[in-house]
């Protein structure tokens, strides 16, 4: 009788541990969503691929990889149909306002949709190259969209971010890195 009673005193702690296990599995899942961001790139510390892309419309200036030298630059791969790109966009605008040189690779998009996207949300890019076939994106080893690369003044890829850049990523990684590389 008393032994049984005593066990019942352990009931609360058992329930709590069970709940904690469930929470734990949840946090793991949420974190997995994040962990793709830390995906290493085969291209880290290698020179950025060499390419030449036309602009979104034929009259626009295109994106020539030659510009990725002499200062820290950001290359952002995006598409108007990509929802997370939309989520990330305000951060791109913010970086552009802070004076960061951002170049865009517009992946498999139509000129109208891409133009519409920039007209609606603002254009943070120095120039945008239209990668209609997706070939240049393959050269960059792009895994998902959006994806952002930080290029140092020597034209080497120094950092790769998969998925949308959030406010936290800006303060934790992107800004400090740009600052360090600018020296």
């Amino acid at each position: 009788m008393t032994a049984k009673l005593r066990l019942s005193y352990y009931l609360p702690v058992i329930i709590v541990l069970l709940l904690a296990a469930i929470f734990w599995s949840y946090l793991g899942e949420i974190k997995d969503g994040k962990s793709i961001q830390d995906l290493p790139s085969a291209l880290i510390d290698k020179p950025a691929p060499v390419f030449k892309l036309p602009g979104i419309e034929t009259t626009d200036k295109g994106f020539d990889s030659a510009v990725l030298k002499g200062k820290v630059t950001l290359v952002n791969v995006w598409a108007s149909w990509c929802a997370p790109c939309r989520i990330e966009h305000p951060r791109m605008m913010q970086l552009a306002r802070e004076g960061v040189a951002i170049y865009g690779i517009n992946y498999k998009d139509t000129p109208e949709a891409a133009k519409g996207f920039l007209a609606e949300l603002g254009n943070p890019y120095k120039t945008v190259g239209a990668d209609r076939t997706g070939k240049v994106s393959i050269d960059w080893g792009v895994y998902g969209y959006p994806e952002t690369f930080v290029i140092d003044p020597k034209g080497r890829i120094r950092y790769r971010h998969v998925g949308p850049i959030m406010a936290q990523d800006l303060t934790d990684k992107i800004r400090p890195l740009i600052k360090a590389l600018s020296k």
């Binding site: 008393t2 009673l5 702690v13 709590v16 904690a20 469930i22 949840y26 946090l27 949420i30 600052k179």
Partner: protein, 673 residues
């Protein structure tokens, strides 16, 4: 510089908290008076440094120092001063600093006012407080540093979410935290008692005022939050059973149960291990609430930006605090000898019923809140649990609590004559019946029978509480002057209880009426259109552009008349905050005793039929809705009155406590200032 001072102060506070959390605890175990004596100065030091940190952060906000990342992300130069200050706790990092500041304040209170406590008990309590402080300070310093610098500093801040720029919400978090953290006192006392292996009526007398104070603050905090949701969200609703709301409501329910069970420990030396368990649970649920809100595990309407990394830390903290204390409980609680036994029909019997139902209610709310998680964890699909679930489960459990509260308050301790009590409550019973009859008659359909029952319960509680006081002061049984003397001499706790119980009745009336008989009209209105809601005619006069310090928008104008007589004008607004790129709705509300007239201005649209623009508008009449918050504030007021009872006075010398105990309930006692 100031931000660095703040961060340094936090680090010092952590160091002191580590000392406070270990040395006195060891000293109490090893019987070393000098180690035990460390507790008080450590508590003072911790308070000092945490307050310095808090002031530094506030300074950064007030001066709009955007080189501090936290300020840049959550503030803006154009923000009014009040919201610059409230912006300190309007975000995750800052709210955690407020959290530890309140924790340190409570620690200081024990150190300063706990002079009547046995030194080892006090040292242990302070040590446990210190350990909680360690956990939270480490959490702040390692995962959510509010003093992080931003280089280069942006010229302008991001702004505080405009929906949070509101006086009601500015003070919602401090009250909520006073409540949550206040329960940490009960927790620390409980854990200290488990370590000492002794729980007696004196212990309960020490715990009750802290619990009561925390409970009052939590009541006010929840009421403020719900009031804010009511007028700010523009839906006319005041409670959504949203996970964040539930997260504050569960500790409140457990805290309410704890208040009642602690009385039994104090008066009858019984229900000890149960009361200890409740004390642990009340604080645990507060922590769980923090976890759920911060980790992003649950979806909610008003969550802080969530972060799984922090979630892992809080989960660890949760397992440590809750798991640790409950394990200690499992080991030590069986040794706590129960005191007197008691009959089911008695004051303590009624309190047990109260406890059973309140904790079951809390468990049901917890289950409903976590069910989507649990089901998903077992692959059962994505679900959401909303108001229908809680209305169908929680409400029926609360009905007997409210019915029994009035009866229980009149029952005597040990063994009671329930027949006599029913006799004394006859008037309340008849009035409740009449209330049900009248409401059902006027409402006139089946759906309203339940609502009529709600009004009946409200009447029962209000009249029953009044009867309780009337009887104790022998109203109308002698000269009024003697009743007055008795009323003055009645223990404050008796007044507090009657006020709080009556307040529940007022609240129930408001909840019932506003949910059952709300009138809602949604329509397109062009200037000049008139709409009639519950006897009030609202004429839409059009909308004009407005400009505020940090927003611009449109303000609509309604002139309200009743029976041809002008009543008031309502001016709902739609605001746009450019810095935050978001919009808010400001409802136009006329509050009356009988109910609120509530107008919301929606989108403007072209209206070719009327040759101009028209606006979508929503007009509500929410009967008795203000009673909900009046009830909640009165409830907290009852708690405060009870807190002034001399038996609860912190630090009251033993003899005074004994005297107070002797003159127990019914006998009047002279009131000293």
């Amino acid at each position: 510089m100031i931000a660095e001072i703040g961060q340094f102060a936090l680090i010092l506070a952590l160091v002191i908290a580590i000392i406070q959390g270990t040395i006195p605890l060891a000293g109490a175990a090893l019987n070393r008076a000098q180690w035990v004596a460390v507790a008080r100065p450590a508590a003072r030091g911790q308070f000092l440094f945490v307050i310095i940190a808090f002031c530094c952060l506030t300074h950064a906000y007030v001066t709009s120092d955007f080189s501090v990342a936290n300020v840049a992300q959550n503030s803006h130069t154009l923000k009014p001063l009040l919201y610059k200050v409230s912006g300190v706790w309007g975000n995750h990092e800052g709210s955690m600093v407020l959290w530890v500041a309140i924790l340190a304040l409570f620690g200081l209170a024990v150190a300063e006012f706990g002079t009547g406590l046995p030194p080892t008990l006090r040292a242990r309590v302070l040590s446990i407080q210190g350990l909680i402080g360690v956990a939270f300070l480490a959490f702040i310093l390692f995962t959510s540093n509010p003093f992080l610098r931003l280089d280069p500093a942006p010229l302008e801040g991001n702004g505080l979410n405009p929906i949070l720029q509101d006086p009601g919400l500015a003070f919602h978090p401090p009250f909520l935290y006073l409540g949550y953290v206040g329960f940490s006192m009960a927790f620390s006392f409980a854990v200290a008692a488990l370590i000492e292996g002794r729980v007696d009526p004196a212990w309960a007398r020490w715990v009750r005022p802290w619990t009561l104070a925390a409970w009052c603050a939590l009541t006010v905090g929840i009421a403020l939050g719900s009031w804010w949701a009511y007028y700010e969200l523009g839906w006319g609703g005041w409670w959504f059973w949203d996970p964040v709301e539930n997260a504050s409501f569960i500790p409140w329910l457990i805290g309410t149960a704890l208040l009642h069970s602690a009385v039994v420990v104090e008066k009858r030396d019984a229900l000890k291990s149960w009361t200890i368990l409740l004390a642990i649970l009340a604080f645990s649920m507060s922590l769980l609430g923090t976890f759920l809100v911060r980790s992003g595990v649950l979806t909610s309407v008003h969550a802080f930006a969530s972060d799984p990394e922090r979630g892992v830390f809080i989960l660890g903290l949760l397992v440590f605090v809750i798991g640790g204390s409950l394990t200690l409980y499992a080991i030590r609680a069986p040794q706590l000898k129960g005191g007197g036994l008691f009959a089911p029909i008695s004051r303590e019997g009624a309190l047990v019923l109260n406890n059973l139902l309140l904790t079951t209610g809390a468990a049901v709310v917890l289950l409903g809140t976590l069910y989507p998680l649990i089901l998903d964890a077992f692959g059962g699909g994505k679900v959401s649990v909303g108001p229908p679930f809680f209305n169908a489960t929680f409400v029926p459990l609360m009905v007997p609590v409210m019915l029994a509260a009035i009866v229980g308050a009149m029952l005597s301790w040990k063994r009671a004559d329930i027949g006599a009590v029913f006799g004394r409550l006859k008037i309340a019973f008849y009035i409740a019946l009449i209330a049900i009859g009248v409401t059902a008659w006027f409402a006139g359909n089946l759906k309203d029978v339940l609502a009529a029952g709600g009004i009946g319960i409200a009447a029962w509680m209000i009249v029953g509480s009044a009867l309780e006081i009337a009887e104790r002061v022998a109203l109308f049984k002698g000269p009024l002057s003697s009743s007055w003397r008795r009323a003055v001499g009645l223990p404050r706790s008796a007044w507090g209880m009657a006020i709080a119980h009556g307040a529940v009745g007022i609240m129930v009336a408001g909840i019932t009426a506003s949910s059952a008989w709300r009138v809602e009209k949604i329509q397109l209105m062009a200037p000049g259109d008139i709409i009639t809601v519950s006897g009030y005619s609202l004429k839409f006069e059009g909308a004009k552009p407005i400009k505020g310090p940090n927003y611009h928008g449109e303000r609509g104008l309604f002139t309200v008349t009743k029976n041809g007589k002008a009543v008031t004008t309502l001016t709902p607004e739609k605001r746009e905050y450019p810095a935050e790129r978001s919009q808010t709705t400001e409802a136009g509300i006329l509050t009356m005793v009988s109910g609120d007239l509530y107008a919301v201005l929606g989108d403007k649209s072209k209206n070719p039929a009327k040759g101009g623009a028209s606006w979508s508008t929503r007009i509500y009449f929410n009967p008795l809705v203000a009673w909900i918050w009046v009830g909640a504030i009165l409830m907290a007021g009852g708690g405060l009155v009870s807190l002034t009872d001399r038996r609860h006075r912190i630090g009251a010398p033993k003899t005074a406590r004994k005297a107070a105990k002797k003159s127990d309930d019914i006998k009047p006692e002279p009131v000293s200032a």
